[in-house]
């Protein structure tokens, strides 16, 4: 196991490097570059640009070189100085921009993620153990309602409903009071109230997947022969379900954790835009649109690193959950 983890950590660097190259390449694929959007904004303000001016601007921003040269320069600064570059649009160091939103992003996404699993694991179990019961149908129905309604539509319906019922549309994560004075113990309640809609919107779309997965997995496991054997041997039902079946049933959920970890960083972009959540998703979206390359690149790179770490973690958890995998790793 230790060798395996070591090997994986060694693989980490080439994977991330490859990822960064591809990401950097894709970012600059759409037509135009930051100067294009800059010039277009400025000419709307009445500026006159000659082709010389534009060329000079490109040079100033270092965009006159081919993308791989820009990439190498960027990478070099990251590796040698830990400098991720400047965001063109914010005129701030990329890292400052990211850090200003990171704590909130992680907090909110973690809350939503914990909520998702807290709700969906028991429901999935319940649905599997009481297949085709009324409860199963109700949960399935609600789950799919959440899944089938586009997040942005659900968000706007809920915000409007909240406005109609309470007079407050609960837009964003913070009330104006918190925005003014910062988050304190006294206004924590208002923050939690503002979390309801994001949790419902993002939560429901995720819970359905987890519920259905757990349910299907459990249904598979319960009918396995080892369960029959265990029952025959008189192992208690609880032990069978929770110690053996659930453990095996969690396999796909854990495999999917890698993705969840990266979505911590920039997930649910569209929902975040519609609900005005001040998290990193919308920043990334804007950066991609205006081709603010270093900002977008850094966010995506960090996200990629999280994917790799998440994959590693989920592989370790998988091995822990399922001894067969452990043996497989060992023998290979």
């Amino acid at each position: 196991m230790r060798d395996y983890i070591l090997k994986r950590i060694l693989m980490f660097i080439p994977t991330v490097l490859l990822m960064s190259v591809i990401v950097f390449f894709i970012i600059q694929l759409p037509p135009g570059d930051y100067i294009t959007s800059y010039v277009s904004r400025m000419s709307a303000e009445g500026e006159v640009f000659t082709s010389e001016d534009i060329a000079r601007l490109r040079e100033q921003y270092g965009l006159d070189k081919p993308w791989y040269i820009q990439y190498f320069k960027w990478m070099k600064n990251i590796i040698t100085e830990g400098d991720f570059g400047y965001s063109f649009a914010y005129n701030r160091p990329v890292w400052t921009v990211i850090m200003s939103r990171l704590p909130l992003t992680v907090t909110v996404t973690l809350i939503i993620m914990i909520f998702t699993y807290l709700v969906s694991l028991p429901i999935g179990l319940y649905s599997a153990l009481h297949q085709y019961s009324v409860g199963d149908f109700i949960f399935t129905g609600i789950g799919f309602l959440g899944l089938a309604t586009p997040n942005f539509l659900l968000a706007i319906i809920l915000m409007f409903a909240s406005f109609k019922l309470t007079g407050d549309p609960l837009i964003g994560l913070f009330s104006e009071e918190i925005l003014r004075e910062g988050l304190k113990l006294s206004n924590l309640g208002s923050f939690l109230k503002h979390l309801i809609i994001p949790i419902v919107v993002i939560g429901t779309s995720n819970t359905c997947g987890v519920i259905r997965t757990i349910r299907a997995q459990m249904l598979d496991e319960i009918t396995r022969q080892y369960v029959l054997t265990a029952r025959a041997k008189g192992v208690s039902e609880n032990t069978i379900i929770y110690k053996y079946c659930l453990r095996a049933a969690l396999n796909p959920v854990v495999s999917g954790l890698a993705g969840s970890l990266s979505s911590l960083f920039s997930g649910s972009t569209i929902s975040a835009i519609v609900m005005n959540m001040a998290i990193l998703g919308p920043v990334l979206y804007e950066a991609l649109k205006t081709q603010d390359m270093y900002l977008a690149g850094t966010i995506l790179l960090t996200q990629g690193i999280l994917v790799v770490i998440g994959t590693l973690l989920s592989d370790i958890v998988l091995a822990w959950l399922d001894p067969r995998i452990r043996y497989a790793e060992r023998s290979s």
Partner: protein, 372 residues
């Protein structure tokens, strides 16, 4: 005698059961799943409607009508002043509130338009082949029938929903299948062989799952020339996206395979000289059929919703071409929700479709193990 008969019958039944092929048994088991059967009928109906969409929809996608902008659904009446005259609609009259300037639509009881079956309307090609102008129903010249109200350009939402299903019930399905197949195969290979192959595939999965889709969509939609119809653009993008979105499933399949490949029956099969492909497809994949079916039934709504997200970002299908995603995106405004709630009806079409796929999946899951 009677007893003998019963016994014979039972025996025959038993024999039938043991002799029947796996597929027959699966079909039988599936048929017993009432909800799955009902869902199959619903889905069948939806696809039937989509197939005959041009015939069923009373109007086409470019039937703009400035007189019914944002008009609510028309009531269908049977009696006029207490007299039965069959299904008909009244004329629609638009008025503006003199003070608030708000628009109001009222029924003009002087005008009566009967609903007719198999009427002549706009011309279309059934199945893209047969040129005709017969529509399932319509009203007499001069009137409009709006089963689901009108949109902001004065088009019949019902017709748009019917015609939109032609896109929404097909393209996402194709996309989901592509990534499903790729996911199983590539994930299967990684999990089955392990070692270096697994390492390489796992790294590829990691790299691909870090790919930003938004700039990819933007680049794709920018590079496709404008004279290609948007539906085809959407198809292309869906296919391309499904070529990178198989990674999630692949990882899960891989995880499953790793835990299964050391099972006795797989070993046995291997020793018996069964080919690798056969082992993967015949012995390993059925081992977690439930999960695969769930993944597929979740993948289809995922793709339908994905299309709405693309429309939201301005990269998906554009009116006049219509899909459910386009309709939902148009409904995504406070004004629509507050003032024209009928624009949310397509949402129910999406929900019904998604639920139907899911219940069929349930039925398939149960049927996949017919010996239970």
């Amino acid at each position: 005698m009677v007893l003998q008969n019963v016994m014979d019958r039972n025996k025959r039944k038993e024999e039938e059961y043991y002799l029947a092929s796996q597929w027959t048994l699966m079909r039988r088991k599936f048929k017993k799943h009432k909800l799955a059967m009902a869902s199959l009928w619903v889905l069948g109906f939806l696809y039937f409607v989509a197939l005959f969409g041009n015939f069923i929809a009373p109007y086409n996608l470019v039937a703009y009508n400035s007189k019914i902008v944002n008009a609510p659904p028309t009531k269908i009446h049977m009696f006029h002043e207490g007299k039965y005259i069959g299904p008909f609609v009244y004329g629609i009259k638009m008025e503006r509130d003199p003070v608030s300037k708000r628009k109001m639509y009222i029924e003009n009881k002087d005008e009566i338009y009967k609903i007719k079956w198999f009427t002549h309307g706009s011309e279309y090609k059934l199945f893209g082949l047969i040129k005709t102008d017969i529509h399932l129903f319509g009203v007499e010249q001069g009137g409009v029938v709006l089963l689901m109200g009108a949109d902001s350009m004065g088009r019949d939402l019902f017709s748009r929903m019917i015609l939109g299903s032609q896109v929404s019930l097909t393209v996402p399905f194709a996309g989901a299948i592509i990534s499903f197949v790729l996911g199983i195969i590539i994930g299967g290979i990684a999990g089955y062989f392990g070692g270096a192959i697994d390492s390489v595939i796992s790294r590829i999965i990691e790299v691909l799952s870090a790919l930003p889709t938004i700039p990819l969509w933007m680049a794709l939609s920018a590079s496709i020339p404008p004279d290609i119809p948007v539906v085809r653009v959407y198809l292309y993008i869906t296919i391309i996206v499904s070529f990178i979105s198989w990674t999630g499933l692949a990882r899960i399949v891989r995880g499953k395979f790793i835990s299964m490949r050391k099972e006795d029956y797989i070993m046995a099969a291997r020793i018996a000289g069964v080919s690798t492909w056969k082992i993967i497809i015949k012995h390993m994949v059925p081992g977690f059929m439930s999960y695969l079916i769930v993944s597929l039934t979740l993948g289809i709504p995922g793709m339908i919703i994905g299309e709405t997200s693309m429309s939201f970002l301005g990269l998906g299908i554009r009116s006049p071409a219509t899909s459910w995603g386009v309709l939902l995106q148009e409904a995504q405004e406070i004004t629509s929700i507050a003032m024209h709630p009928w624009k949310l009806i397509p949402l129910f079409a999406v929900i019904i479709t998604v639920l139907a796929f899911n219940f069929i999946g349930d039925g398939l899951r149960d049927a996949a193990d017919p010996y239970k």
